[in-house]
């Protein structure tokens, strides 16, 4: 109620009623608003559902149409198939009836064929037996002919083979003989080479031995010769002294003689001959000094008569020895080279012979 005194109580009651009614109106309006909102929401939902149902219906209608079309097509196909099947069935019925007829005909024909087959078999057996007999005879004849021909060929080839084998054996024997002869020759050559080498070795040993003996002899003789020379020089000096004291005889003076006269005298009477005026000692000295006969002792050598050959000096003899040695070496080298060359040539010829034999043996097989 209003707390003012300015308004009449009727008006206040009226306003109170109006306020109550307004409250009721407010509540009812709120309800209505809520209902309207709910209605709007429901309406939106319904519209959405309606749209979806419309779409669903449209799609289902389309599907249904398609399905119906498919089923109709399938049905048409099946109808055609059944029609075809019925036609085929009619054909089968016709064929069945034909088959029965053919079967009957075949029965009759089979009986005829059996009869003809038995007859044919009889005839064929007799014909085949005859043909087999003829073929057997012809085959036997041809086989015999072929066998004879092959045997002849085989015997001919065997004979040829024997001939060739004998020929090759003969060749092998000859080659073997040749090889043996070559080997023997080679063995002889080798023996000759070995013997020549041993001889050369023995010669060399003798040479060296003789050289050593000579050197030893020189070692022994050189002091003796020097003593003799000293004695002879003293004698000459003594003679010169006596001559200078007593005067030189006219036939002994050499001052008047020319240089050529000295040479003639020397030729006639060599300086180192045993019959010089120097005497026995000089002759002994010369013969001992310049005679080098092998295997003769010095005592014997002194007794041998002196030859009228110009004696060689020691240097000349050493030169001669060196020449002999070099000659011997040349001979050894040439003989060994010749032997080696002959040995190589014989080995090459042997290898060639072996190759020829191998090629012939391989040609055989």
């Amino acid at each position: 109620m209003l707390e003012t005194g300015a308004l009449s109580p009727d008006v206040k009651r009226l306003f109170g009623q109006v306020a109550k009614q307004s409250e009721q109106y407010k509540k009812s309006f709120e309800k209505i608003d809520n209902l309207i909102k709910q209605f709007h929401v429901d309406r939106e939902e319904m519209l959405g559902e309606l749209e979806t149902t419309r779409e669903n219906i449209a799609s289902s209608i389309k599907k249904l149409e398609k399905y119906s079309m498919d089923t109709v097509d399938e049905f048409k196909e099946k109808v055609e198939l059944t029609h075809r099947l019925y036609k085929e069935l009619d054909k089968i019925d016709r064929l069945k009836s034909d088959l029965f007829e053919i079967r009957e005909e075949l029965k009759a024909q089979s009986l005829d064929v059996a009869k003809t087959i038995t007859e044919f078999n009889m005839k064929a057996e007799s014909a085949v037996e005859r043909a087999i007999g003829q073929a057997k005879t012809t085959f036997d004849n041809s086989i015999n002919k072929e066998m004879e021909r092959i045997e002849g060929r085989v015997s001919r080839s065997l004979a040829k083979f024997d001939n060739t084998q004998k020929l090759h054996e003969r060749r092998l024997i000859s080659v073997d003989r040749g090889i043996k002869a070559e080997v023997k020759k080679l063995a002889g050559e080798l023996d000759y080479v070995y013997s020549s080498i041993t001889e050369i070795k023995a010669d060399l040993a003798n040479y060296f031995k003789s050289i050593i003996d000579k050197i030893q002899y020189f070692d022994e003789e050189v002091p003796r010769i020097s003593n003799l020379l000293e004695n002879s020089i003293e004698k000459y000096n003594h003679k010169i002294d006596t001559l200078s004291k007593g005067g030189i005889p006219a036939h002994e003076t050499r001052q008047e003689r020319t240089f050529e006269d000295y040479d003639e005298i020397e030729e006639e009477t060599p300086m180192f001959s045993p019959n010089t005026s120097v005497g026995v000692i000089e002759g002994e000295m010369d013969s001992d000094l310049f005679t080098f006969d092998e295997d003769t002792p010095p005592s014997k050598r002194s007794k041998t008569p002196a030859k009228k050959i110009k004696p060689r000096t020691t240097e000349e003899k050493v030169v001669d020895l060196e020449d002999d040695l070099s000659e011997l070496e040349d001979r050894i080298s040439s003989s060994s080279g010749r032997n080696i060359a002959s040995f190589i040539m014989s080995m090459i010829s042997l290898a060639g012979l072996l190759l020829v034999v191998l090629s012939q043996v391989l040609g055989l097989f």
């Binding site: 003012t4 005194g5 300015a6 308004l7 009449s8 008006v11 009226l14 306003f15 109006v18």
Partner: protein
């Protein structure tokens, strides 16, 4: 601050005015008709101020105020009915 709120605060806190005293004793309308009749008839705000003072402070029934409220009520009810009918 709004004027209406300020007026309400002043009514509670401030001292009583001459108009409020006259309204309490039942002479405000006579005083206004006597001294401020023209303004009361022309100035709506002033008229509303006088009505507010009467409503809050008068202790006897004022038929003019009843009529004003009833008119206002009927006007509002008509509006309401018109709106509800249209809706």
């Amino acid at each position: 601050m709004k004027k209406e709120k300020l007026d309400r605060i002043l009514q509670k806190v401030g001292p009583k005015t001459v108009k409020e005293d006259l309204a309490e004793y039942g002479y405000l309308l006579e005083w206004v008709n006597e001294f401020m009749k023209e303004r009361y008839e022309t100035d709506k705000d002033f008229k509303m101020e006088i009505y507010t003072i009467l409503y809050n402070h008068s202790k006897r029934v004022e038929p003019e105020l009843d009529i004003y409220f009833l008119e206002h009520l009927s006007y509002n009810l008509n509006n309401f009915l018109g709106k509800t009918e249209n809706a």
